[in-house]
């Protein structure tokens, strides 16, 4: 009977990459939930505070776009086995990620100083939404920074030579993804508060 065949199972796409895509769909739904809630709340017109976005968000947008470029170059360097360049580039990427969150934070302070309370008593949902949504996004960026730190440590561990490009590819896809989420949020906030 010839019912048995080789153990080879078909893996069209690397399982980690695939899981990442499903995970990203999940994260996307969460932000879709947040922004739809924002629209629903804003449209009911009840006590909605109008305010302008902190100008520093423009800088943070540039920073995160730059970081997407650096991680793209880092992946390329890894594939060329140019490890020194690779390490420098992921360090820069991680630093830009941290810088991004710091800039977002100064944006919060700017709002606070201009009379827009994000949380606490007498805060307005308009400000709170901005705080919570960008805050949750910042956590996702910081999660990416942690991943980069792990990759960085691995790149120094010379005992285990690792030629698999999967980890850096997964990390960079995720990084572009949180970048895109911010672009989406930034455009969204600009349109709805215009």
């Amino acid at each position: 009977m010839m019912a048995t065949v080789s153990d080879q199972q078909r893996k069209r796409i690397h399982p980690h990459k695939f899981s990442l895509w499903v995970g990203m769909a999940s994260i996307l739904m969460m932000f879709a939930g947040f922004t739809s809630a924002y629209i629903v709340k804003r449209n009911d017109g009840n006590n909605w505070l109008e305010f302008t976005l902190p100008p520093v968000f423009w800088y943070s947008t540039v920073v995160i776009l730059l970081s997407s470029l650096t991680i793209f170059l880092a992946t390329k360097a890894f594939k060329d086995r140019n490890m020194a360049r690779y390490r420098v580039l992921i360090t820069i990427t991680a630093a830009l990620g941290v810088l991004f969150t710091v800039l977002q934070w100064t944006g919060f302070e700017y709002l606070q100083n201009h009379g827009v309370k994000l949380i606490g008593s007498n805060s307005n949902p308009a400000g709170s939404f901005l705080g919570v949504i960008t805050g949750v996004h910042m956590l996702h960026v910081l999660g990416g920074v942690v991943v980069l730190i792990v990759l960085f440590a691995r790149a120094y561990n010379s005992r285990k030579k690792n030629y698999s490009t999967v980890p850096i590819e997964v990390a960079s896809t995720y990084w572009h993804f949180v970048d895109a989420i911010w672009i989406y949020l930034f455009i969204f906030f600009n349109i709805v508060s215009a």
């Binding site: 009977m1 010839m2 019912a3 048995t4 065949v5 080789s6 153990d7 080879q8 199972q9 078909r10 893996k11 069209r12 796409i13 399982p15 695939f18 899981s19 499903v22 995970g23 769909a25 999940s26 994260i27 739904m29 969460m30 932000f31 879709a32 939930g33 947040f34 739809s36 809630a37 629903v40 709340k41 009911d44 009840n46 006590n47 909605w48 505070l49 949380i119 606490g120 008593s121 007498n122 805060s123 307005n124 949902p125 308009a126 709170s128 939404f129 919570v132 949750v136």
Partner: protein, 607 residues
């Protein structure tokens, strides 16, 4: 009836290694008690962990319903035993109002999430996906293990909330604000609600980890020859279940995050114009509790399908196997699952017709809601036509599958009433709703679970459950379920609202006093019969009749080509190749042809 009377065609035995072979799997490694039973990464053990945890919660949740049914039947009597059991929650043998609401809330929460979500899809997705697609384990066994332990922790935290001084959360399983957002709103809104939120957040993480794995395994790890259209319908159902979960639970999480901010950081997403007795007016302005309802029901409606789809898949499989006929309309079954999955994201506002939703908007949701009846009806017709003129074997699993179809029809028909906003304005928040969703989701869901347990028990434990006990269990539960929930339709039509502690002050509902006693007594009997099931389940694990052949039900699917007690890795030697769909029953005069059998020379080809 002996389960061994099945004729084997002799065509499916390509991988048999002797009947009582204990599989040693390809990845045989030495396992300690801890790695084998506790932090196991074997999908079959994880499935059993989900099952046992789910069953534990089913007992707790069922017990809660018995307690609050006692209150509804005898609102003016005292039962000293209740005080012994519940202490100050039943002072003088009479359940307090606070305790009643807590019981109802936790009953709903754990039945929906812990029993019918984790216990059902957690168990059977884990158990059946690798076995039926022909994989050694899940795409990521480690994440799979994490999924269980997140669930376990979540369940433990929910359990702990039963013991805090102010009691568990008591604002209903949907946790609407302001009761869920303000600690000062009620005792249950304090620590109990904090624990509820933490527990549910962990539960969402568990579902995402699990769902991700199920999807990855189904799409990437199928054995050679197992094209998507050769998959058993169980796998299709688990696939859509996982997709629904992965896309809707994050939205619930976003709702919870906003709720956490309202509770703990003074924001006003859901709060506005509130006056609390003893505290005065709250500063919160501008929020909207309706917002929470949108976020909750955007998950909440897909969630009810997350509960029912696994049952649908397993029932399709069991009905076909035990009618010895191919499933009727295989592609239509997949198509209707797909349609249900899509539509379930577009109907959530039918839970909010009476919330102040714009009636114009509401009419769109009426239309979309009624559309769901189409794929639902397709499924029902296909099940009935599968049974039609079949060579039916009334195994306990088969009875539960037929029971599932019966419950789904009875409860689904009232869904069509409720989907019309004009009727729903009258019926919303009455006992009619309780009747609707218990039949269509609660009882049908648990029937799907029982069907699955009875059918795959031999694969899980290498033994059979006792049939006599199983038949008693089925008939009492089946009759009981109708006796409990059917009369509730009449109560609801008469306008009797749900979620009340005591109806005796209402002149109009006095006529239901006797009916309520009746319902409660049946509920207690049905609960007792579930204990019989538990006994059967655990007793058979050690003392049940041993399974003597690899394929006791004469099934076509891959799980029955593994050794009777498969080890980690499932197949000894290589994974079998698949040559046909899963439903070749009664084809070309053969009783069944296993999926592993190559298509013969003059055979009529359909897949």
């Amino acid at each position: 009836m002996s389960n061994e009377q099945i004729v084997h065609t002799g065509t499916s035995h390509g991988t048999i290694h002797g009947a009582d072979d204990h599989g040693h799997g390809a990845h045989h490694h030495h396992e300690t008690f801890i790695t084998k039973y506790i932090f196991s990464q074997d999908h079959k053990m994880i499935a059993k962990q989900f099952l046992i945890t789910g069953m534990t919660w089913a007992v707790l949740g069922g017990l809660m319903s018995v307690l609050f049914r006692i209150q509804l039947a005898y609102p003016d009597q005292n039962f000293p035993i209740l005080e012994t059991l519940l202490g100050h929650w039943a002072k003088g043998g009479h359940i307090t109002a606070e305790a009643y609401y807590a019981l109802v809330t936790i009953h709903g929460t754990v039945m929906v999430f812990f029993v019918l979500t984790a216990g059902l899809s957690g168990t059977f997705s884990n158990f059946l996906i690798p076995l039926q697609v022909g994989a050694r384990d899940m795409a990521s066994p480690f994440m799979n293990m994490l999924s269980y332990w997140f669930f376990f922790t979540s369940a433990l935290i929910m359990l702990s909330s039963l013991f805090v001084e102010t009691g568990p959360f008591s604002g209903g399983w949907t946790a609407y604000p302001p009761l869920s957002a303000l600690g000062s709103a009620s005792p249950g809104s304090k620590t109990g609600m904090d624990l509820w939120l933490i527990s549910m957040a962990l539960f969402v993480v568990s579902q995402l980890l699990g769902g991700l794995n199920y999807i990855a395994t189904i799409l990437n790890m199928r054995t050679k020859g197992m094209s998507m259209t050769r998959l058993p319908l169980t796998i299709w159902a688990f696939f859509f279940t996982a997709v629904l979960g992965v896309l809707s639970f994050p939205v619930l999480l976003s709702g919870f995050i906003l709720l956490i901010f309202d509770r703990n950081f003074g924001t006003s997403f859901y709060l506005s114009d509130i006056f609390v007795n003893g505290i005065g007016a709250l500063p919160n302005e501008g929020g909207s509790p309706i917002l929470y309802q949108h976020l909750f029901w955007f998950l909440g409606h897909p969630e009810v399908y997350i509960i029912i789809l696994p049952g649908m898949g397993m029932v399709s499989e069991i009905l076909s196997t035990n009618s010895r006929k191919p499933i009727f309309g295989y592609m239509a079954m997949i198509g209707s699952l797909f349609a249900i999955a899509i539509l379930s994201f577009l109907v959530w506002a039918h839970h909010m017709f009476v919330s102040g939703l714009n009636p114009f908007l509401g009419s769109f949701f009426v239309l979309l809601t009624l559309l769901i009846a189409v794929p639902s009806a397709i499924k029902v017709f296909n099940w009935l036509t599968t049974l039609w003129r079949g060579n039916i074997r009334f195994t306990p699993a088969m009875l539960y599958s037929i029971g599932f179809v019966s419950m789904f029809i009875s409860g689904g028909l009232t869904g069509i009433w409720l989907g019309n906003s004009a009727l729903d304005i009258h019926l919303h928040d009455t006992y009619f709703i309780i009747a609707h969703f218990h039949l269509v989701m609660g009882v049908a869901g648990i029937f799907g679970m029982y069907a699955g347990i009875y059918h795959w028990y031999p694969k899980m434990f290498g033994r059979y459950m006792n049939n006599t006990l199983a038949y008693i269990h089925f008939w009492v539960t089946f009759a009981g379920a109708y006796l409990i929930f059917w009369p509730m339709h009449y109560e609801g039509l008469a306008g009797m609202p749900r979620r009340y502690y005591d109806y005796t002050n209402w002149e109009s509902f006095k006529m239901f006093a006797g009916l309520n006693v009746f319902i409660s007594i049946v509920a207690i009997i049905v609960f007792a019969v579930q204990l019989l099931f538990l006994f059967n389940f655990f007793y058979s694990m050690y003392k049940g009749r041993k399974v003597a052949s690899q394929n006791p039900w004469g099934s076509t699917t891959l799980e029955w080509t593994t050794p009777i007690n498969p080890g980690h890795g499932n197949w000894v030697g290589e994974i079998p190749e698949v040559h046909r769909w899963a439903y070749d029953y009664g084809k070309d005069g053969k009783d069944f042809i296993a999926q592993t059998t190559p298509v013969g020379a003059g055979e009529t080809v359909n897949h």
